[in-house]
Symmetry: D2
Subunit: 148 residues, 4 copies
């Protein structure tokens, strides 16, 4: 694990401790590294309509969380400016969804992240998030020497 990836992990830990919503939705952080994050979630009964199809808002929420961990992975506080999502296939009750976020571009304070939401080999949604750094750090790296 590189120092950058270790920092990404520490940023994710700080965010996760604070992220009641993602925890209550039953999300799990599968992996975090510099500029990337993978988060999973299983579609629960309260995320569906009566026919067992997931409400798009929960698929969005999963992708948005993966995006948030990826764009904050460099220890610069970063917020979502705008996101778009294309729904490729419905998700259903009990489906285990995995959202993989990767960094596409950074320029100035802006970033573009792509998130693919899959169920096994199937693509459920493609999400693109645009981020903006707002100043400040998530973890205090000046005390890093004390960690060991």
């Amino acid at each position: 694990m590189t120092a950058a990836d270790e920092l990404a992990q520490r940023c994710a830990d700080v965010m996760w401790a604070d992220d009641v919503a993602s925890r209550q939705l039953g999300m799990t952080i599968e992996a975090v590294a510099s500029g990337t994050a993978t988060v999973s979630m299983t579609v629960r009964d309260d995320m569906t309509n009566g026919h067992g199809t997931a409400h798009g808002g929960f698929i969005f929420a999963l992708a948005d969380s993966a995006f948030a961990f990826a764009c904050n992975s460099r220890n610069e506080r970063t917020v979502a400016q705008a996101c778009d999502i294309v729904f490729a296939a419905p998700a259903r009750l009990g489906d285990r969804l995995v959202a993989g976020a990767t960094e596409r571009a950074r320029f100035g304070r802006n970033g573009i992240y792509d998130v693919r939401v899959t169920r096994g080999d199937d693509v459920v949604a493609e999400f693109r998030g645009r981020s903006r750094t707002i100043g400040g750090a998530l973890v205090d790296v000046t005390e890093e020497g004390h960690d060991g």
Copy 2:
């Protein structure tokens, strides 16, 4: 109330009866008419992070529900193809959010709907949804004569 608006209301009733997710999120349908819908939701503790800021996924879900009621208001089964959202201001624990969806354009089987999410006079998010009709009706209008 016009016949078109009455039909919109009946479509919304059918969808709402089926929409476990929107009900569990505490949403309320404030108004539905032909091509438009207004839905409200109060930000709960389980929708926030530890600082009381709402997860973007729940703001999206509210907008997405208003979009769904609006684009299904003409009794043609219609699904979301793609959506984009711009976050203008954070929403916080206890905020009552209102999402108002209006129809912008329809062409062929496609539709474009704009949804503004507000908290009082403040804009929280601007959402645009693209829909596609998939065939079939929500309510059986052939038996309409029997209703009285």
Copy 3:
């Protein structure tokens, strides 16, 4: 004409004098007011493929110009951050296209503008632009008293 609309017109005059590209594409500014602009263009032979259908890039360019005049209408230098366009119907050789831009929201340094491109009563495209002010003015309003 209000003072705000007169200022919008002066901003447009400054931009237009500088906008070689829009002029070379044969665009005409039909109207400008505070937060809005209408620009027209006729589809030329060099904007089409061999079957007389306009390349999407020129429809985008027309919408983008209307967006630019609208978002700079308050005498604050403003640039396009991001845009999206949905193509509703093809445009053809000789079609006179009209792009009408309206302001949807402003927050902080950000703005959202909607542009509809029409040919007569038909919608050709729906465009949404996101802008950001970058500081500085287009016209010097301090000397306004000398104008008369």
Copy 4:
């Protein structure tokens, strides 16, 4: 070169012969293969404003052309439904821009293509196009045996 890539090249040839607009803008097809295309263009005087900055419409047009060649590379007639573009850095008079399109997802008749526009190592814009096949082929592959 695989058979799929050879077919992609033949599709591009047919489209190019027909694409007056891209030729008049001085575009060059650098490479085409199954699901991908690279197109270049130099920013001309008539694409700029008086300060030598390119009008966004021409950057969009370049990306849109790369998208078109990529999404038609499998010999199924395909059109652009919707596109979005983020402008990362201005392009200037004389800049040689290169647009590289790659396929991100296909489902049903829909496709998602990402296009990055670069100037040397710098990213000028990130574009995402959504396509839809409309039926029909670009080249007649049944007579392929007669080609030699």
